[in-house]
């Protein structure tokens, strides 16, 4: 906490100096506004789960469920008819399926970054958004997993990807980045789910303690594992939390690195570059924060969470979007530079073709959404206009989808031999399968909002409220007389 100069008992000359210099009093921005107490946070967050189900929730989940059936229908049609129903053909054999996979996996990265790296960096503002962002991660990976699973062609043999004995007596090829991906993505999903669940145990205990109906007592009781807020338990719990944050940190960096190896380990111009791992990771975090903003801003106004998700939180998220967006912009520029500097005519062609070839429109959508849009976050008035921030976050989502489209399709459509060039277009099945995953994502997310605490209650009490500090006896809420 900021101390006033006159409270510090400084020597007289220092005080004169301070009076002359008039240092600006810059207190830290509050993480929870309006001086809320513990009980207010409990009631606020638990209320969302415990109150009567709002009508809008039923409307939204019905629509989400309906849209999710598009994916189901698309996949049933694919499996019953054959992979030919997708727009894949020589030379473009990686189309929307891979684009959508990388898109959804990337979105997940913001959740892991918030829960892991920002935890290690002691960024206390993360406590207001980490639970929702982690949920977003898990549901995004669920959506991502669908695409490569069905892209294998005969999905009933997808278990051959895992090192399990099969009738052929052949094992997976561990030299392939695609096989690394199997391990990376499944580990990512599992560890994210473990972290999410462990963070939720104390809050599930709180919901159990407040439960009135029998099903709630059993549901939350079973999930809370008998948690009883013992300080001796908190000690191990906090250590476990920190350790999981430490373990997830290399995971944030490795998952998209390995996804980028799927491209970079090939020999195709435009893919075979060493910049891919950092470029993909920065892009993933960028797209993830785009999605976090897309989700958090409506939640904030629907559930009236303005005291918990303040302008400060929005500023922080916008600034991370700006930073990662600038990294992505730098990577785009550097790709062009290396294509020229490397003096490889195929590489040079690949990039000129991206910007001015048959997919020029996709490239320029990508540039305007990913490079130009986030630069507006330099301005305070932009960050303070919630509607504008929300619209810009949608642009980020769109732009990052197009980035994956540009990378995947342009390199494949125009490779070494002009005689084998082609033009890729998705079919209606591709489009419906992809749109359906938004329904699936929303469906899972709405279930989460209804049944689980959407903000980490214990964490926000401990880290964002000044009265939680055991040495802050002067805080008005810690005075006996205030009761």
């Amino acid at each position: 906490m900021a101390h006033k100069a006159e409270d510090l008992n400084l020597p007289a000359e220092t005080q004169i100096l301070i009076a002359e210099a008039k240092p600006v009093d810059m207190p830290r921005r509050e993480l929870v506004e309006n001086n809320r107490d513990y009980n207010w946070i409990t009631e606020k967050i638990c209320g969302i789960v415990e109150d009567k189900t709002p009508t809008w929730w039923w409307v939204c989940i019905s629509i989400a469920g309906l849209v999710a059936t598009y994916t189901l229908a698309g996949l049933v049609y694919l499996v019953s008819t054959g992979v030919g129903v997708w727009g894949l053909n020589n030379p473009v054999n990686w189309g929307w399926a891979i684009v959508n996979f990388v898109f959804w996996i990337g979105i997940g990265h913001a959740g892991t970054l918030i829960s892991a790296i920002l935890c290690l960096l002691k960024q206390r503002w993360r406590t207001s958004i980490n639970r929702t962002a982690e949920a977003m991660t898990i549901f995004a990976v669920v959506c991502a997993g669908i695409f490569p699973l069905f892209h294998v062609g005969r999905v009933w043999f997808a278990w051959w990807l895992f090192p399990l004995p099969n009738a052929n007596g052949i094992w997976p090829n561990f030299r392939s980045p695609l096989e690394w991906d199997v391990f990376a993505v499944s580990t990512y999903f599992t560890v994210s789910a473990l972290f999410w669940y462990m963070g939720m145990i104390p809050d599930l205990g709180l919901l159990r303690d407040r439960a009135k109906s029998l099903w709630r007592k059993y549901f939350y009781g079973a999930l809370a594992m008998g948690w009883r807020n013992s300080a001796r338990h908190w000690k191990n719990y906090e250590m476990a939390y920190l350790t999981l944050a430490g373990l997830s940190t290399p995971l944030v960096l490795s998952v998209h690195t390995i996804v980028s190896f799927d491209f970079a380990a090939s020999i195709l111009p435009g893919w075979h570059t060493t910049i891919f791992p950092p470029y993909f990771v920065a892009g993933a975090i960028f797209s993830g924060f785009g999605m976090v903003l897309t989700l958090m801003l409506p939640l904030r106004s629907v559930f009236k969470l303005h005291d918990l998700i303040t302008q400060y939180h929005i500023d922080c998220m916008c600034k991370i979007t700006l930073a990662t967006g600038s990294m992505v912009g730098y990577a785009y520029a550097m790709e062009f530079f290396i294509a020229w500097y490397g003096a490889n005519s195929f590489e040079a062609f690949a990039f000129i073709n991206r910007a001015g070839g048959q997919y020029w429109w996709a490239y320029w959508i990508m540039i305007s959404c990913n490079v130009i849009t986030p630069q507006l976050f330099w301005f305070k008035w932009v960050r303070e206009n919630t509607t504008l921030v929300w619209v810009m976050s949608l642009f980020v989502n769109v732009g990052m989808w197009f980035e994956r489209f540009v990378i995947t399709v342009t390199s494949l459509a125009n490779d070494f031999l002009p005689s084998s060039w082609g033009y890729y277009s998705p079919t209606i099945v591709d489009i419906y399968t992809y749109i359906g995953t938004f329904g699936l994502f929303s469906f899972l997310f709405l279930l989460f909002l209804r049944f689980l605490p959407l903000i980490a209650i214990a964490e926000i009490k401990a880290l964002a409220l000044p009265q939680a500090d055991p040495h802050n006896e002067d805080h008005p809420l810690n005075q006996k007389s205030s009761k």
């Binding site: 104390p202 303690d209 594992m225 476990a240 350790t243 999981l244």
Partner: protein, 181 residues
Amino acid sequence: MSKDTYGIIATFDTSPEIYKAAKEVNKAGYSKFDVFTPFPVHGIEKVMGEKRSTLGSFTMIGGLAGFFTGMAIVAYMNFDYPLIVGGKVIFGPIFPFPIFYELTILLAAFGTLGGMFVLNNLPKHHHPVFEYENFGASSDDKFMIVIESEDPKFDESDTSSFLEKLGGYDVTAIPHKSETK
């Protein structure tokens, strides 16, 4: 002492109060006591006389198990059915490194979560403190201390007055479950 009480519980309102109370209880020589707080109160485990958590060993075991499981999988499968691809060796530590890496993280994470449960003796859905009717408030905004009857220094009246002196209120004896039925 008395076999029909599990312990004596006292409630506090603020984080600094519980911190001081926990310090005093430990200073007074009690060892079998516990503090229940709605969130981890920073540093309270130290003044309670707790040592650093040994959770790291579980993570370590998990991580090593993951690393060597990954290595064993790749080595066994490549010698069992050698796939000569890209002129690479049948087995080496480099090309399958992502497998070791991911499995290290995966099993270390399971070790961490599992270790947290093992060290905390959870899941345990029954515990005498749940018998105290106001116990639920300790997950909302109240802070509680329980001194167990098994503590050698425990004395029903002395301990109660000690907790009251520390500023605790609603000082109550928690019965063992068998006694309430």
